[in-house]
Subunit: 340 residues, 2 copies
C-alpha cells in the first residue's frame, strides 16, 4: 500500500507549485527585470506590444521583425579599448615571429616593446596597420580557432573577467524579449564580421549568419592535398560604420530593420534608416554616463572623447529631434552585468 | 434532444478519419512524392536520416544544418535564357528613354530593334553591359518595385506561364523536406542577389536574408526632404559564380554548408567546399537530360553548350570521382512542375 502523504508533504508540494507559478508569472510580467521603470523600458515594451498584436494598426508580420544591435558599447563594454584591438595587439608577437622584418618597423616595434603608455598613444592609423596585419592572410579556419582560443582566455583588466562576461544584462534581456516575440536579432558592428561571428552564438544567442560587420574578401584555393580552403585577404568589402551600416544591412540582410540600437555617431545612419521605414519603429542609443558602475565618456556629456564609441552633442540633439530614445546607463539600468 | 447519428454518419466520419490518417501517413512516409525511387532520392533520404538522428555518429546539430541551392537550372528553368536576362532586356526601352544617347549605341541599338535573332546572338560581354545598365543606378526600393511588377507579369514563351510557376516540383519537395528536418535553406545564385530576393520568399519559402547572389555596392544618401535611401551602384562586391560561391557563402552565411545542390561548372567550388567539411555531406548536380519534358543541353551529354548552366564532361567526371550524386531529370523526376 502506498503511504498517505503527510500534511507537510502536501504543503511542500503546494509551496513548490506556487513558487513555480509565481516564477513564471514574474517572468511573464516583467521580461526586463534589470531595467528601472522609465521612458526607455516603457518605449521597448510599448514597441513590442504594438508590433506583435494582430489587432494593432502597427502590427508587423513575423518575417519582417528584424532588430539590429551595434556591439561595442551597446551590447558589451568597449572602454577603454575595443576587445578586438586587444586581440590584435596580443597577436603581434606571432605576426612578428612569422615576419621578423616587422620587429623594427612601427607600429610593431612599439607593441613589441611592451610599453603600455606608448601603445595607448598609437594613433588610429597605426592601430589599423596592426588590425590589417593580424586579421588577414590566414586561412579562415585557423583564424576562427585563434579567436576562439583568445576569447576563452583573455580578461578585461578592470573586472578581471573574460570579455564575454562583460555583456550588458539589460541588453541581453532585450535580445531575449524581442526573440520571444518573433524578432530576428542581428548584430551590426563596426568590428570584424569574422571576429564577432566566432562567439556571437555562445554569448548572445545570435548565430554567425546574423552578424553583419566590417568584412574583408576571402580567396578560395586548394592545399597540397587538393582540399579547398578560404584565405582571408586584406581587401575591404564592407566598412560597417556610419553609412556602411545601412549598406551592410542591405547586403547581408536585404530588409530594413524595424528596431535598431547603437551608442555612437557610427550608428546614426543605421538609426535613421530604420526610422525612415513605415509604421512603428524603435531607435535607441545607449549613453555611457555611469562613471562608477561602468564608464562615463563622450562629448555629449562634456567629457573628453575617447578612442571608443563617440557620442557627440550633435548626435544627442539629433536623437531628441528624431524621437530616438536615449538609454541612460546610470538611470535606466538596475544592474549592468549578470555577475553583479 | 440530439438526434442519434445513423450508421451511415458513423461510417462517413470513420472513412473521413481514415482518409485523414492515411493522408498524413502517406506524407510522412514519402516526403518526396515527385521523385522516382532511385539513387538520387535514396541519397537525399539517407542523408537527412543520418544527420538528424541523435543516435547517429553523423548527427549534425540543428544550428549547423545549412543547405545551399543554386537557382537557375537547379530550382527553376534556365533554358534558353535566364529570366533575369529577360528582365534586363525588357528594361532596355525605359533605360534608353532615360538616356536617349544610348539608342544608337550597341548593344542597346540591337535590343531596341526588336530583332530576336540578332538579340539572341549578342555576345556575353554585350549582355553584361545591358545587365549593368539596367540593374544599377536606381534607388533600391524602386528596383524592388520594378522587379516585383515584372515577375508578376512576365511569361516564359514555351509554357506561357509566369516564370514563378516554372520551379521544379521535386526540388520544392527537397526544400520543404530539409526545412521540416531543421535545415536552413539558402539560395546561392550567380544571379543578382537583389533580384532574387524580391520573389524568393513567395516562390520558395526562402526569405531575402537567405539569398546569396552576385551583389553590387549601394550608396547611402538623402532625398530632398532629408529622407535616407540606398542607391544601387555599378561597383561589384561579389561575383557569386565558381570560386565566388564559397566566398559568398563565407561573407553572407559564415558557415560551411552541409548539403549543396547545383547544375553547372559554376557550382563546382560550392560542392567541393561543402564536401570538404567533416561528417556526412550531400552534394548533388541536376543534369538536364530530358529534351521532351524540359530541355537537354550541355557538353556532358555530347550536346552543344548553351548560354545557360554549362555541365561539362569534366564536371561529370569530377562528380563520379568525388561521390557527388547526379540527378537525371529524365529518370529521377516523376513530374517536373506543380501544374502538370
Amino acid at each position: 500500500m502506498k503511504p498517505i502523504p503527510s500534511y507537510s508533504t502536501f504543503a511542500r508540494i503546494f509551496t513548490l507549485g506556487a513558487l513555480l507559478v509565481l516564477g513564471v508569472q514574474a517572468h511573464a510580467g516583467d521580461p526586463l527585470p534589470s531595467w528601472n521603470d522609465g521612458p526607455a523600458k516603457q518605449a521597448i515594451v510599448a514597441f513590442v506590444k504594438v508590433t506583435t498584436d494582430k489587432a494593432s494598426p502597427q502590427f508587423v508580420p513575423k518575417a519582417e521583425r528584424i532588430a539590429t544591435f551595434d556591439q561595442d558599447g551597446t551590447l558589451w563594454v568597449e572602454h577603454p579599448i575595443y576587445s578586438q584591438v586587444m586581440y590584435c595587439l596580443d597577436r603581434v608577437p606571432a605576426v612578428v615571429k612569422a615576419k621578423p622584418e616587422l620587429a623594427n618597423v612601427e607600429p610593431f616595434k612599439t607593441v613589441m616593446s611592451g610599453n603600455r603608455e606608448a601603445i595607448a598613444k598609437l594613433p588610429e592609423g597605426e592601430l589599423m596597420k596592426i588590425v590589417a596585419a593580424t586579421l588577414t592572410g590566414m586561412p579562415v579556419e585557423t583564424f576562427n580557432a585563434e579567436v576562439k582560443k583568445w576569447i576563452a582566455e583573455a580578461k578585461d583588466p578592470r573586472w578581471k573577467k573574460p570579455y564575454t562576461q562583460l555583456t550588458y544584462q539589460p541588453m541581453q534581456e532585450v535580445l531575449k524579449y524581442l526573440r520571444a516575440n518573433g524578432y530576428k536579432t542581428y548584430i551590426v558592428t563596426g568590428g570584424g564580421q569574422d571576429f564577432v561571428r566566432v562567439y556571437s552564438e555562445a554569448i548572445y544567442g545570435i548565430p554567425p549568419e546574423q552578424v553583419v560587420g566590417t568584412a574583408g574578401g576571402t580567396t578560395y584555393g586548394y592545399d597540397k592535398n587538393g582540399k579547398p580552403f578560404l584565405t582571408k585577404e586584406p581587401k575591404l568589402l564592407l566598412n560597417d560604420n556610419n553609412a556602411g551600416k545601412p549598406e551592410g544591412i542591405h547586403l547581408i540582410i536585404g530588409r530594413r530593420p524595424v528596431a535598431a540600437f547603437g551608442n555612437s555617431t557610427g550608428d546614426q545612419q543605421m538609426l535613421e534608416y530604420t526610422k525612415a521605414g513605415d509604421g512603428a519603429r524603435l531607435a535607441m542609443l545607449v549613453l555611457h554616463d555611469d562613471a562608477k558602475r561602468e564608464y562615463a565618456y563622450g562629448p555629449a556629456q562634456g567629457l573628453p572623447d575617447s578612442r571608443v564609441g563617440t557620442f557627440t552633442q550633435a548626435l544627442y540633439d539629433e536623437a531628441q529631434k528624431q524621437g530616438w530614445t536615449v538609454i541612460s546607463i546610470k538611470n535606466d539600468w538596475k544592474r549592468i552585468f549578470a555577475f553583479e
